[in-house]
Amino acid sequence: MSSRASALITRKQELPLHSDATGLFLEIMISIAVFLFAVTLAGVLSINSMLSAWNNSILGSLTIQIMPVNTVDIQKSREETLLHQDKVVEFFKSLPEVESATPLSDDQLWALLQPWLGDGINILELPTPRIIDVRIKHGEVIDYPKLAERLIDVSPLASLDNHKLWLNKLINFADGLKVLAMSILVLVVAISTGAIFYTTQTNLGLHRNIIEILHIMGAKDAYIAQQYAKRDAFIGFFGGVCGLVFAVPTIFMIAHLAAQIEGGIINEAKLDFFSWGLILSLPLFSALIAMLTAYYTVKRTLEKMM
């Protein structure tokens, strides 16, 4: 078996496949395909990591807002609001899923409001809402609608804002983007295999004479198909490497641009070790696809020949 395998590698190729123009065309085509594939794949993988980070943040915490009690007396309003806050904190602490419930201090609230209100304003003199940061125990899932109902009983001023609303929208958008990107991936593979199919067919026509001689000498279709498969495996691999050479800097550039967007949303879009491994192994996949496509194209086409 190993001697047969080595014979396959060192074997003389009767078909002059290395010197013809279709090879160069295929190599350029595959490098473009792998370039597109790599960049799109990087996009899909980043969206994925972003989605899982967002999903985690939805799972991990929620924010409760308590509206200020509406009275003319600011001091009284503040005290009554704080009472509501204490009740809500108590309620959350009593829940088994909750790890902690921490009201934001005056300083923290001020830090949040300061950008809108500007300097020189004392929030103690304003009817300000209070905020409670609730952390959920790891792995626990909260039934938000039910919780919201119970919360109203505890305090009508409290409202549940778990980022879920806007994050949900963002997640849906990202999911749509992901589907789009994945269909681009499928399309790129389909177009490449189509191109390999047609160039291989053309090439078979070009070398019809030699193929007929090989057949008459007793070559099985597989013998001829192997010569094409071997060539296209090399073309697929080197085309793939060329594509990566352009794709990797492009991915870094896009990542750099994305990192400049404020808000930290995109910061979650990190490519991990596994993702990079996948992207860098693309030439192996392009080699495999080119090889199999060539092999089966030859087998199918020869069946209609002598």
Partner: protein, 246 residues
């Protein structure tokens, strides 16, 4: 049912060894053109030697191409090594072809390959290991006195040299059947006689031989039966018929 089974057995027993190449009412046509050969009936026994004659365009090359399985008959039954080619799949056909050596009229060498690689072809297509290939091909190329040109591109060689490569390629795999299409067409009498001697040697070793030719000299010098094509039909002449005819 039972009786027909017995009949088939009986039939086989009476026929004895089946012919190596057998044609029953075989016709050849190209695309939608007229039939070039019609209702050919023929059975070549193992170890036989035949000339195939007929005017240019009579269909010699076409008939040979049926025998080396480059095409199917457009009608009729062709059995090669006892297999009906109409019911033989592609891989099996390849295996059958390995038992047939062919010398083409125009040699049909692969021009960008060396003499060595051309002769090695029939061995490599059946995945013989390269060491054995080397040994056999070198031996045979020495024998046809082409060892000096072993690694030269075929396209740089002369017509006579190409012919020797073509013959070496046809016999390298020790075929059961050797088919030669006008092998003496482009060579002088001396070489033609030498070639005939080679074919006769191979025939003595058991190879079934068919040689297409239009050389009267060859036919009169060597007393072998003759398959003669004329007007799309085939007639078989035993050597004594022919001599009587002269």
């Amino acid at each position: 049912m039972f009786f027909s089974g017995v009949l088939i057995l009986f039939n086989h027993a009476t026929i004895g060894e089946p012919a190596i190449i057998e044609m029953k009412d075989v016709c050849i046509r190209y695309d939608q053109g007229p039939e070039i050969l019609s209702d050919i009936n023929l059975a070549l026994k193992r170890g036989s030697f035949h000339f195939l004659t007929g005017k240019s365009g009579a269909g010699k090359t076409s008939l040979l191409s049926l025998m080396y399985l480059a095409q199917h008959p457009s009608r009729g039954i062709l059995n090669v090594f006892g297999k009906n080619v109409n019911f033989t799949d592609r891989d099996e056909m390849a295996i059958l072809r390995r038992r047939i050596g062919v010398v083409f009229q125009d040699f049909r060498l692969i021009e960008h390959l060396s003499a060595f690689d051309n002769v090695a072809l029939p061995l490599r297509v059946c995945n013989m290991n390269e060491k054995e290939v080397k040994k056999r091909v070198k031996e045979l190329l020495c024998w046809v006195e082409l060892d000096k040109h072993m690694y030269d591109k075929t396209s740089t060689l002369s017509g006579g040299e190409k012919q020797r490569i073509a013959i070496a390629r046809a016999v390298i795999n020790r075929p059961d059947v050797l088919l030669a299409d006008e092998p003496t067409g482009n060579v002088d009498n001396d070489i033609a006689r030498k070639l005939m001697k080679l074919f006769i040697e191979l025939n003595k070793l058991g190879t079934t031989v068919v040689i297409a030719t239009h050389s009267d000299k060859l036919i009169t010098d060597f007393p072998y039966p003759r398959l003669h094509l004329n007007n799309g039909g085939l007639r078989i002449y035993e050597p004594r018929d022919f001599i009587r005819g002269v």
